[in-house]
Structure formats: structure tokens, C-alpha cells
């Protein structure tokens, strides 16, 4: 059965897995989505008529730790993929849960950051800087949250034996992994442009 399914994957006009091709197409379109949000942020971040400015409100050491957590989640994700490629379902679940935990830590940190900003006077409607900041980082956080749900879904599928055979399970984990790494890549850009590049 396993060999038959592997062979079926390659009966496409490109000889490639269509679901993986679709995922890369989706990620390409997501580049445009986040590119637009980042462009909007860059346009408006210096336009502050009321409320705090970026320089006054950002906590770089705190966000650096959050960035490190998300980077490490990419490592645990790829170790989960390596585990299932070895046929190690227990290892897969351990690394998937570690990835989900790191993702939840990142989201918890973002919720704390948003709460602090609101308490310090920066809300969605305070200034165009506030609007563009919350929309950009909020959409990224939403993507991370969707990723966490998909990771937990994979854990459930593994427990239910729905990631067998190994080739089929690897394919599913790899697809979710691509999404997760993409979310990490977007944060690499956001961390640099939003937090580290100084405002005028």
C-alpha cells in the first residue's frame, strides 16, 4: 500500500507532489501579503500625531527573546520531520509538542506586549503607526496561531495512527513544516524592519 501511494504521488505532469507545489504557491502569495503590510508599516511608522512613538515604546531585549523562541521552534519543527522520516512517531510527537509549546510562548509574549502597549497609550486607533503596527504583527500572530493548531492536529493524527505509512506522514509533516518555517522567516524580516531599524 505504501509503495503504491508513493508511486501515485509522482504521477503528475511535473513529477512533483502537487500538494507541495500548491503549498509553495501559497507561500509565494503570502510573501505579497506580508510585503504589503510591511510596506504600509514603513510608510506610516513615523506619522505619529498622538500617542507614543516606536522608539519610546519598543522593548528590544524582550522582543529579542521572543524572536529567539520562534527561531528555536523552527529547529524543533525540522527535528520533528527528521523523526518521522526515520519512522519514529514518538520522537515526532515530542518535537511537534515542543514546537507548539514554543509557538504558544511566542504568542503569549505577543499578547503581553500588546497589552503593555495599550496600557502605555498605543491602541489600534491611536495613530497610523499604531494601526499599521497592530495589523502587521497581529496578522503574523494569527498565522502563528493557525500553525499551532495544525501542529496539535498532527499530534492527534499521529496518536490516531493517521500518519502511516511513513512516506504519507512525512509529506503531511513537511507541508505543515513549510508553513511554520515561513512564519519564522516573516518574523525575521519583521523583527529587523519593525523593531531594529531606527525611525527618523
Amino acid at each position: 500500500m505504501g509503495t503504491h501511494e508513493v508511486a501515485a504521488d509522482h504521477h503528475t505532469s511535473t513529477g512533483l507532489d502537487n500538494t507541495k507545489l500548491a503549498m509553495w504557491g501559497f507561500l509565494g502569495s503570502e510573501c505579497l501579503f506580508f510585503g504589503s503590510l510591511i510596506s504600509t508599516y514603513l510608510l506610516y511608522r513615523n506619522r505619529v500625531l498622538s500617542g507614543p512613538t516606536p522608539h519610546e515604546i519598543y522593548d528590544i531585549p524582550y522582543t529579542s527573546v521572543s524572536s529567539f523562541v520562534l527561531l528555536m521552534s523552527s529547529l524543533t519543527m525540522v527535528l520533528a520531520l527528521a523523526a518521522i522520516q526515520r519512522g519514529d512517531h514518538r520522537g515526532l510527537r515530542v518535537w511537534l509538542l515542543a514546537t507548539a509549546f514554543l509557538g504558544m510562548t511566542f504568542i503569549g509574549g505577543q499578547i503581553y506586549e500588546f497589552t503593555t502597549f495599550v496600557e502605555e497609550g498605543l491602541k489600534l486607533q491611536t495613530s497610523t503607526f499604531g494601526s499599521s503596527f497592530f495589523v502587521l504583527t497581529g496578522f503574523h500572530g494569527a498565522h502563528v496561531t493557525v500553525g499551532i493548531l495544525m501542529l496539535l492536529m498532527l499530534v492527534g493524527m499521529s496518536l490516531a495512527g493517521r500518519l502511516d505509512p511513513v512516506s504519507e506522514g512525512s509529506r503531511k509533516v513537511e507541508l505543515i513544516g513549510l508553513y511554520w518555517h515561513f512564519v519564522d522567516i516573516v518574523w525575521i524580516v519583521i523583527f529587523m524592519i519593525v523593531y531594529l531599524v531606527p525611525t527618523n
Binding site: V6, S36, L71, G87, H89, M192, P198
Partner: protein, 116 residues
């Protein structure tokens, strides 16, 4: 199926055979951590403030490429996947360039209010 079932199916896949080992993944993660620490360090160093933006851009680019090439396996997978992704990135840069051109070269920058 046993918990630690080992199948030969994946060994026959030429792309999987080229994937890095877990040890290499850990090494990549260490490099990513060091570059992130450098990014934060240069942010605080007064002496490099004139070159801060290019330095940050280079370091972010290095991290971006490492994650895409090794963790997302673009270095080992079919070139078609790479083209899909690179096209998206280039289009994102095009959107950025067009927006900046419209607002700063044609106009006089965006209005400071959302509605205005």
C-alpha cells in the same frame, strides 16, 4: 504499524536522501542564534549607527536564506519550488518599491491620519 516502524520508502526518495542530518540542523540553529545576538548587539553599539541599516539587512538576509535553504529544504528540493518562492519574494519587493515610488517620488508622503 509499530511506533518505531522503519520504512525503506523514504530512503528511495532522492530528495529525502539529501536532507541534512539532525546534527546539521542544530548547527544551523546555533548560527541563527549567533546572528540574532549580533543583530541585537549592533543595535546598541553607537559606533556602527551609520551602517546600522545595511548591517541589519545583511544579517536578516543571512537568516532568511539559512532557514529557507536548510529548514525548508529549498537547497535540496526541486528548482520549481524555489522559483515559486523567489517569485513571491521578488513581487513583494516590487510592491514595496511601487508603494514607495507612489508616495515619496510622485507624492509628498502619506497623510498622518488614517482617513486623510
Amino acid at each position: 504499524m509499530s511506533e518505531t516502524q522503519t520504512s525503506m520508502e523514504h530512503v528511495q526518495d532522492p530528495h529525502l536522501a539529501q536532507h541534512p542530518t539532525p546534527r546539521k540542523y542544530v548547527n544551523i540553529a546555533i548560527i541563527l542564534s549567533i546572528v540574532t545576538a549580533l543583530e541585537v548587539a549592533v543595535y546598541y553599539i553607537e559606533a556602527v549607527q551609520d551602517f546600522l541599516v545595511p548591517m541589519l539587512a545583511i544579517m536578516a538576509f543571512v537568516k532568511f536564506v539559512l532557514v529557507a535553504a536548510y529548514f525548508m529544504h529549498l537547497r535540496f528540493d526541486s528548482r520549481i519550488f524555489r522559483r515559486f518562492f523567489v517569485t513571491g519574494v521578488l513581487l513583494a519587493f516590487a510592491v514595496f518599491g511601487i508603494v514607495m515610488w507612489i508616495f515619496f517620488l510622485v507624492g509628498d508622503g502619506p497623510s498622518p491620519t488614517v482617513g486623510g
